[in-house]
Amino acid sequence: MHEHNGSDSPSFLARLGGIDRRWIFLAMGLSIALPILLKLRFPEYPGPMAKATFDAIESVPEGSTVLVAFDYDPASAAELQPMANAMVHHCASRGHKIVFMALWTLGRQLADKAIEEVLLEFHPGLRYGTDYVQLGYQAGNEGVIKLMATNVPEQYKTDTKGTPLASLPLVAQIKSTADFALIASISAGYPGAKEWVQFAESANPEAFKLVCGSTGVQVSQLLPYYPKQLDGMLVAVKGAAEYEMLVEGKYPVEKNAERLGQGRVRMGPQLVAHMLMIGLIILGNIAMVAGRSRGGAR
């Protein structure tokens, strides 16, 4: 805190540099809440990575068995659940059989949510055991992937209901990850997409397509793997929104469409919040310059 007499008091602009952070929190709160309340929507233009992810799932023959790994927890669900929902709907619309699993403790519940709110909602004719299976969570981090790369039944002896895998027609013939046509990892950190690349893709290169959805902070660690090891990558809510546009364009739903549009819903607050941050950064720099020039003039 500076002490000033009346003639040396900092200008209004300079004082803005020390604004109480609670004003910033209030501004951020409003910038997120208002677009949601006012239902602000903006057009999305799918980028190359979202298109690559969409094309990867489209290119797999109809009716193939795919594995979707929910490698995140409720903390990241706001960013990743939209892309997970869109991916599940896309796979089911394409006629693929989906095997769900999780490497994070709380990921299994999020997979259950996707099954209940998306898979069974928009594809009510699907039957458990033949069209989809929930393997659930397994402890062991990358050890799970390493073992699945050679021996899935040894890693998962039963599904979440206690049914042996041999009794489930969908997974009875699955021996290793090479038996899946596509593996999708929705990941928020460790273990996640990087471990799938390092231990599953490297063990059986070219045996299956590998796509991932990740949080924004992880992108720099995963970019080196795209497009050689990763056939597609969805990054953060923007990637989810772009992918949703592509899926909705080919496989629209009639009711409860908002369940497959949450990524686009979140882009409204993202735009306003980003503009706010740019404004704050500019304001901070103006305050810094004003404070310096005041000091320089003395």
Binding site: I24, F25, P43, G140, Q221, L271, M277, I281
Partner: protein
């Protein structure tokens, strides 16, 4: 003396063996096996942690130190989750074995344990994560100042990425044709160039440095050069 020699010997031997085991097909899985041992130890050590948690919070409550109410909430939450989870209170009866209490499902929202997960734990963790949005704004306001050339570069990069990650990027530069000479001025092109080349290169350099740091640290521990983690006899 043995109190320090034996841990160093265990660390050195196991470190060297596991390092060399990676290169032989016969012994590659030893590392995972040891990880499995550690997981068992960690699960057992959880009892120590839980005991410590109880001790610290009970002491705070009994001494009525400031913040003791938080300790009371901690203990109530701890015992509630433990009771409903361990004893499967209120679990949904199993279809195959309806008369066996412990065969019931307790993870769905209809069971108390699942209800607490769905309506208490999940929203709380999501809330803590959401606080990051506010802190990012205040950190950006305070830290992103154009004091020198490097910080100006940082500012410029931040502006490009912030705009490119929203619809504003396409609105401002989407009209530039993809195949024109000026296509590099599109925000999406600049974002791809920054993330795929500049950011990835910097991240790779840091990752290489980290890998070397890990190697050097591990060697110091294996060779017994760094003994700061050991207790005094």
């Amino acid at each position: 003396m043995l109190q320090r020699t034996i841990p160093i010997a265990i660390l050195s031997l196991s470190g060297i063996i596991l390092m060399l085991a990676y290169f032989s097909p016969l012994t590659t899985s030893w590392g995972e096996t040891v990880l499995g041992w550690f997981n068992v130890l960690a699960a057992v050590a959880f009892v120590l942690g839980a005991g410590n948690l109880l001790r610290v919070n009970l002491e705070r409550i009994s001494a009525q130190r400031s913040g003791w109410a938080y300790s009371a909430i901690t203990l109530v939450s701890f015992f509630a989750m433990l009771a409903f989870g361990l004893l499967k209170l209120g679990a949904v009866p199993s279809e195959k074995h309806p008369d066996k209490h412990f065969a019931g499902a307790y993870e769905g929202p209809t069971a108390p344990y699942g209800w607490m997960y769905e309506y208490v734990l999940s929203p709380l963790t999501a809330t803590m994560f959401a606080m990051l949005a506010f802190y990012v704004a205040s950190a950006a306001f305070r830290a992103f100042r154009a004091k020198n050339t490097e910080s100006i570069l940082l500012l410029g990069t931040a502006f490009i990425i912030l705009i490119a990650q929203t619809a504003a990027g396409m609105f401002l530069t989407g009209w530039i044709p993809q195949d024109s000479v000026f296509a590099f001025l599109r925000f999406d092109s600049m974002k791809i160039a920054i993330t795929e080349y500049i950011q990835t290169a910097g991240m790779r350099a840091i990752t290489i440095g980290i890998a070397l740091g890990v190697a050097a640290t591990s060697l110091r521990l294996i060779l017994g050069v760094d003994k700061s983690y050991l207790s005094k006899s």
